[in-house]
Assembly symmetry: C2
Homo-oligomer: 244 residues x 2
Amino acid sequence: MVNIRLDISYDGTKYLGWQRLGDSELTIQNKIEKVLERLVEHEVEIIGSGRTDAGVHARMQVANVHLDTDKNCKTIKEYLNKYLPEDISVTSVIEVDERFHARFDVVDKTYLYRLWMNENKPIFERKYVTEIAEKLNVNKMIVAAKLLEGTHDFKAFSSKSTKKSTIRTINKITIEEKENEIHIYVNANGFLYNMVRNIVGTLLEVGQNKREVSTINEIINKKDRKLAGERAPAKGVTLYNVNY
Amino acid sequence: MVNIRLDISYDGTKYLGWQRLGDSELTIQNKIEKVLERLVEHEVEIIGSGRTDAGVHARMQVANVHLDTDKNCKTIKEYLNKYLPEDISVTSVIEVDERFHARFDVVDKTYLYRLWMNENKPIFERKYVTEIAEKLNVNKMIVAAKLLEGTHDFKAFSSKSTKKSTIRTINKITIEEKENEIHIYVNANGFLYNMVRNIVGTLLEVGQNKREVSTINEIINKKDRKLAGERAPAKGVTLYNVNY
């Protein structure tokens, strides 16, 4: 058996998300597994760096998979790209140490959230951005984002209750103004369920002057999901980078 | 009656092109006319700067339309964007002189052709680029493009025979190398049927070393469509700009 690392890019628009859901053909994991199984002629299970929600995109998702094959990486990559649909691309296939685990070995991940800020509708970008009608106070959002950085209990920013630890470290939130867009990059050692979307939704309320910057500390301290902002739409989210 | 100029952007992927085709709802012209007719409650005919083929996109298409209405431009724009599908956007609505004609008054137009040059498949750009497998000799393409500039009979670059004049002036062809793409901008005072796609197809053959630069003059002089290159796919074409 060889352990293979796959770097994957996808347009999540028409999928139910990364994670396999029974036999549904509408998950990215299922699509890739089915093609691999045809190539290696045995059942496979790919391990992603983490799930992405329905409609969320990936510029770089990473997975590993144990294969019983003598096919080389170049052949595997070509076969995958030949048979995967046009909205999923495998950008790299390399053999890795047998102990490499795409989920457990993550050092940090970066998500990008794209906000469309032009008064005209996005056309070519419409599936990858969330439209915002009003002008945002970006400087206020940057100040609020700073308060989220560091090691905190982010329970209030998770859409699912869990008994596991909800402590994570956000290394950096970068907010950039582009020509027609605002880009929010969130880099952390791990993300809770819907955490990026809940953080962006909260920062949006700050930018819209519906919420004071000081409420950020209160949300973190009280650990109450109801205090945080509304969850931002999935289509604005792109898994941007995974570091090992 | 007022004469209204519309600036329009669209993703042409799912349309049969700009031009109305009977009652088909799959043309951009039909979509816009139907929404306008609901607003002004009379039949309308919009005049585009020119047709775009099935699958061709527009960053900026321009049209004019005579309306019998007291609605102002802001209201017309909002109404159009509210009821048009998400792949058509009206970016500007202004009242113009009653003599303004979106086709006859064009001074020049620019088309952009996007070639995808990365060994990985395009994901987010896939509907707007044409994938090229081999590395192109861009310098040779630039030399060939120079020979196309100027006033020539471009009959060999038209996919349709016509008794009308096939003389046009290409003011400039600009070829830019981007990170993963090559962009070809063609600015001319007018374009024959499929002219951009036939020019790009010919330049591609030059870049692939399948054709010598010197054949360009021969194609122009002999006016024979069979001598020019194969027509490049529609999805790589974007109507980029129209000048009046």
